[in-house]
């Protein structure tokens, strides 16, 4: 059975996920998204994988959430607070969510993973480094190339094209 820390973490994570989508202001929404990402890092700590938890904190809470916050601040002020959605679509979306959760949840509850517990010791994080450098090394190099190219592509996309014209004026 789940313990108190797990229940508190799941309430924080799911509540912040709902708040991130439903808050009126996008700025508070992105701060709530930070709460969700931090809650997931807490789950990683509960699962005895502190290395992934620290990676999650550094990459998601440290850089992605801050990047989203800065992008939100670049957008006009009235667009941050404006909420565009029609009622009918919202009810259909909630119905879709409930059907999805109930269907997938009942499939999972009926399957055999309900009784799985473990008493074995956690995986040593040295094994992760060994994995990266032995079996997964082509994927590691490919990931580095993808990161470089995507960050370069993002910079090129977001560059202002009228910059040179402004300088000559």
């Amino acid at each position: 059975m789940a313990d108190v820390v797990f229940l508190a973490l799941s309430v924080i994570t799911i509540g912040c996920a709902i708040a991130a989508l439903e808050m009126r202001s996008l700025i508070y929404g992105s701060i709530a998204l930070m709460g969700t990402l931090g809650g997931i890092a807490g789950f990683f700590l509960l699962l005895d994988s502190p290395f992934v938890a620290m990676f999650q904190l550094a990459v998601y809470v440290g850089s992605i959430a801050v990047l989203i916050l800065f992008t939100v601040m670049l957008v006009k002020r009235e667009l941050i607070f404006k909420k565009v959605e029609d009622k009918r679509r919202k009810f259909v979306g909630i119905a879709l969510m409930l059907v999805f959760i109930v269907a997938l949840g009942s499939i999972i509850m009926d399957s055999g993973i309900k009784t799985i517990t473990t008493d074995e010791p956690a995986v040593d994080f040295r094994n992760i480094g060994a994995d990266f450098l032995t079996y997964y090394w082509p994927a590691l190099i490919l990931m580095a190339l993808i990161l470089t190219s995507s960050v370069t592509g993002a910079l090129i996309l977001a560059r202002r094209e009228d910059e040179n014209e402004q300088r000559t004026d």
Binding site: D3, I14, L21, F43, D48, V84, F100, I113, D131
Partner: protein, 101 residues
């Protein structure tokens, strides 16, 4: 370990449902990006949970790969939103009708 695998998987299913709701209802481009982030995090939680209960180090390794790729995806997505905002002066995806440059 007092927690069972089913608890983590159910939290992951709930987050996946919330993300699908956000993707289908919201029309704000940045909020749709939030929903995508929530779905990716649900997938990462599943990877680490199954990796812990096997136990096998592959789950954590693949979760690290997934986090790094998600960072690249968010950078490109945000810059696309900025370009679209500059073109249309709006972040409502119903306005992004033409893809002419």
């Amino acid at each position: 370990m007092s927690n069972e695998l089913i608890d983590f998987v159910l939290v992951s299913v709930a987050m996946l449902g919330i993300g699908i709701y956000g993707l289908s209802v919201k029309r704000n481009a940045i909020r749709m990006l939030f929903a995508i982030e929530i779905i990716i995090n649900a997938a990462n939680l599943n990877l680490v949970a199954f990796g812990r209960f096997l136990p096998h180090s592959g789950g954590q390794t693949l979760a690290l790969f997934s986090i790094a790729i998600a960072a690249a995806e968010v950078a490109v997505g945000l810059s696309l939103i900025i370009v679209a905002y500059r073109m249309y002066q709006n972040i409502d995806i119903a306005d992004f009708r033409s893809l002419k440059g």
